[in-house]
């Protein structure tokens, strides 16, 4: 039992934070919201050059050959800046899926040239569809890999304007099938868990950043002659949100490990992660907005960029209540392990 990340992981995280601090400020997020694809291809290239995009891809296929425990801290960093790029869709979900089922379709993914997303049929819309080059889509129990020109998109606007949801239509054919039957079923279940887990990690990063913004504001903003951060009402609200976040993180890290090791209790561990992270981000958003007051309620202020991603990811891939129900279904009849 060694529940601590090593120095390599910390160094990688620090390097990614440096890059994102420079390249993905709030103005950059706004620019992505206003763009066609919903993200910046240039920044995606930079992330690819650092190895982030291809992190989960085998070294033989141009990636770093790391697993979820190597990715989780970087997803938190992505959350801290509300990264508009499809790190969840491509790196956390798409690439490992293709690696397992159709490694020949991985060409260009690690280099950032081919953006991948995965659409599961019980989800109302496919995220990151607008900017994807290759779409893996579930249809009638099979998984199909389809190139962008061969799909029809009907955009669905998310409260997070960077998410670019779309309903996707395509013509399934024998040539597009990459998995069917039990293999496809297992891959879909795993892809769903990866979506839920990766969203959890991003939610932790979002919560972290929102608390940081709120604490900064509370130090600067004066009312009644003192910084509002000296009021207990402000302190305790932020402290409670921080407690929630601090306990969400190890749960999310454990889920990363369970996915990487194919733990038999993977589903319970992922659901715990999504439940805690969704609530932590929700609480952080509420606390941060209340601390900011009216200024945080404006489009001009940056807070909403983070809140809206938190609300979107909190609802996507099962919200907290849904995941607690999944845990209950497993735990109440028998305790895991």
């Amino acid at each position: 039992m060694r529940f601590v990340f090593d120095e390599d992981a910390s160094a990688f995280r620090a390097a990614v934070r440096d890059l994102l601090d420079k390249e993905c400020g709030p103005a950059d997020v706004r620019a992505a919201w206003d763009s066609d694809a919903g993200f910046s291809a240039a920044r995606w290239k930079q992330l690819a050059e650092m190895g982030v995009v291809g992190l989960t891809i085998a070294e033989a296929d141009g990636g770093l050959g790391l697993d979820e425990t190597g990715l989780v801290l970087l997803l938190e960093e992505a959350g801290r800046v509300a990264l508009p790029e499809p790190l969840i869709e491509t790196t956390a979900v798409g690439a490992p899926l293709l690696q397992a089922l159709a490694p020949d379709r991985l060409a260009g993914v690690a280099s950032g040239d081919t953006v991948v997303t995965v659409g599961l049929s019980h989800c109302p819309a496919v995220s990151g569809a607008a900017g994807a080059d290759l779409l893996v889509l579930e249809r009638d129990g099979a998984l199909h890999a389809v190139a962008a020109p061969d799909v029809d998109l009907t955009p669905v606007e998310s409260v997070d304007h960077g998410r670019r949801l779309a309903r996707v239509d395509f013509a399934p054919a024998a040539a597009t099938v990459i998995a069917a039957g039990d293999e496809a079923r297992a891959a879909v279940a795993l892809a769903f868990d990866r979506y839920a887990w990766a969203s959890s990690a991003v939610l932790c990063g979002l919560a972290d950043r929102m608390l940081e913004l709120a604490a900064e504001y509370a130090k600067q903003r004066h009312q009644f002659g003192v910084p509002i951060g000296s009021f207990q009402a402000v302190k305790h609200k932020l402290a409670d949100a921080l407690v929630k976040l601090d306990f969400a993180r190890p749960v999310v890290h454990r889920a990363a490990f369970s996915i990487a090791r194919d733990d038999p209790d993977r589903a319970v561990h992922v659901s715990m992660a999504k439940a805690y992270a969704s609530e932590a981000a929700d609480l952080a958003a509420r606390a941060a907005l209340q601390v900011h007051g009216a200024i945080g309620y404006t489009w001009e202020h940056d807070l909403h960029l983070f809140m809206k991603k938190a609300w979107a990811l909190g609802a996507a891939w099962g919200d907290a209540a849904w995941h607690r129900r999944r845990v209950a279904d497993a735990v109440l009849p028998r305790l895991p392990r």
Binding site: C123, P124, A125, V156, E157, S158, V159, D160, H161, R163, L165, H222, Q223, F224, G225, V226, I228, S230, F231, Q232, A233, V234, R286, L289, Q290, G293, A294, Y297, T298, W299, E300, H304, W311, A312, A315, A316, W317, G318, D319, A321, W322, R324, R325
Partner: protein, 379 residues
């Protein structure tokens, strides 16, 4: 006479009359958002329709455009109004906040001049209270009004003026005694927004619409007869208005009863046992809020007043609204994030509840100090 929670025949008749009219007249299609220019004018037209049929301000005296009913009947009207799915009230800052304040503090001339136009939506009003450095700490107001013969010369900056982007008039607090501090030396003044020296900068809110505005004032000349109440006594006038705002008038129970009924419909569409308790708790809150309001207006009608209870009320409705809207979003599950769904709009709006009209933190201080007698403090 003892406690009687049944409606009288007159009250039932009034309810029936309102219901019939609303069913026949509420627009079949929802109007555009009143935070757009187009929607604002659509809502102004609807206010005119209400007025012409005598429903704009049912509890006002007939001479000002109302029908002089009592507060219980006003609550009944509000229940019917929201039950019918009628449009939001674009004139509410005037009708429900400034209006009652004018009746208490206004001169006969001011009442005759402003109230009928307000009722008819000829003038739509916004508030000018907050300033960049005076939010929760309203006594930190710096905007000045300098007496100059028969005019005040206004200068300064107001912000978070709801509906301010398209409103005709603003009522606001200005510092008339520059030597006085905190809540002393302030005066309430009524300002047309088309005067020279007034600049309105619309501010987009969370949903991207221009729900509020900053108003910049540079040497704006306003005649003294547009002062409401005594000079330097604006704080009292404002507190009376704030009492209305947080107390009974800004959030009538009908609104939440309608929301709770919609929440139950939503639950029936996709029943989720995990959320059953939250759904029914939301409905119960709306009912409790209704009962609390009937008790409050009964007390007012019996000669009582509203004090710190308005803070109690404000905390309750703002938290209830968030609970109702976020429970509905949880019922929607993965569809909750889809932009433009009615519950998401409701949730974004509800988020402003604990912030505006005095943050809930300030309200809790008020309750602790005025009701429980705890000592004041900066903390």
């Amino acid at each position: 006479m003892a406690l009687d929670l049944t409606f009288t025949e007159d009250e039932e008749a009034f309810r029936a009359e309102a219901r019939v009219w609303l069913e026949a007249n509420v627009p079949a299609q929802p109007l555009a958002s009143f935070d757009t220019r187009e929607g604002f004018e659509q809502h102004r037209a609807w206010e005119r329709t209400l007025h012409d049929a005598g429903w704009a301000v049912v509890s006002w005296p007939v001479e000002y455009g109302g029908r002089g009913v009592n507060l219980v009947e006003w609550l009944i009207f509000e229940e019917e109004y929201y039950r019918a799915g009628a449009p939001g009230r674009v004139g509410q800052n005037g009708l429900f906040l400034l209006g009652p304040t004018l009746m208490d503090f206004g001169t006969p001339d001011q009442k005759a001049r402003f109230l009928p136009r307000m009722a008819r939506a000829d003038d739509i009003w916004c508030q000018g209270w907050s300033e960049p450095d005076a939010g929760s700490d309203l006594a930190g107001i710096r905007s000045r009004a300098q007496l100059d013969g028969d005019h005040y010369m206004l200068s300064g900056q107001k912000t978070w003026c709801s509906r301010g982007a398209f409103a005709d008039w603003m009522f606001g607090l200005f510092r008339t005694d520059p030597a006085a501090e905190r809540h002393r030396g302030l005066t309430m003044i009524l300002v047309p927004l088309d005067l020279p020296g007034v600049t309105v900068r619309p501010i987009a809110q969370l949903d991207g619409e221009t729900g509020f505005a900053e108003v910049f004032l540079e040497d704006v000349r306003v005649p003294v007869d547009q002062r409401l109440g005594e000079e330097h006594k604006g704080w009292n006038v404002a507190m009376a208005t704030a009492g209305f705002e947080r107390g009974v008038s800004l959030r009538s129970p009908g609104r939440f009863m309608a929301t709770a009924a919609r929440l139950i419909d939503q639950w029936r569409e996709r029943p989720d046992e995990t959320l059953r308790d939250d759904v029914v708790a939301g409905w119960m809150d709306a009912e409790a809020y209704r009962l609390h309001n009937y008790a409050t207006v009964s007390r007012l009608m019996a000669g009582g007043t509203i004090g710190a209870e308005s803070s109690v009320n404000k905390i309750f409705w703002s938290e209830m609204d968030l609970h109702l809207q976020s429970t509905a979003l949880r019922l929607l599950g993965q569809d909750a994030e889809v932009d433009g769904n009615r519950w998401l709009d409701g949730f974004l709006f509800a988020l402003s509840g604990p912030i505006y009209a005095g943050t809930n933190e300030v309200q809790r201080n008020v309750i602790a100090e005025r009701v429980l007698g705890l000592p004041r403090s900066a903390g």
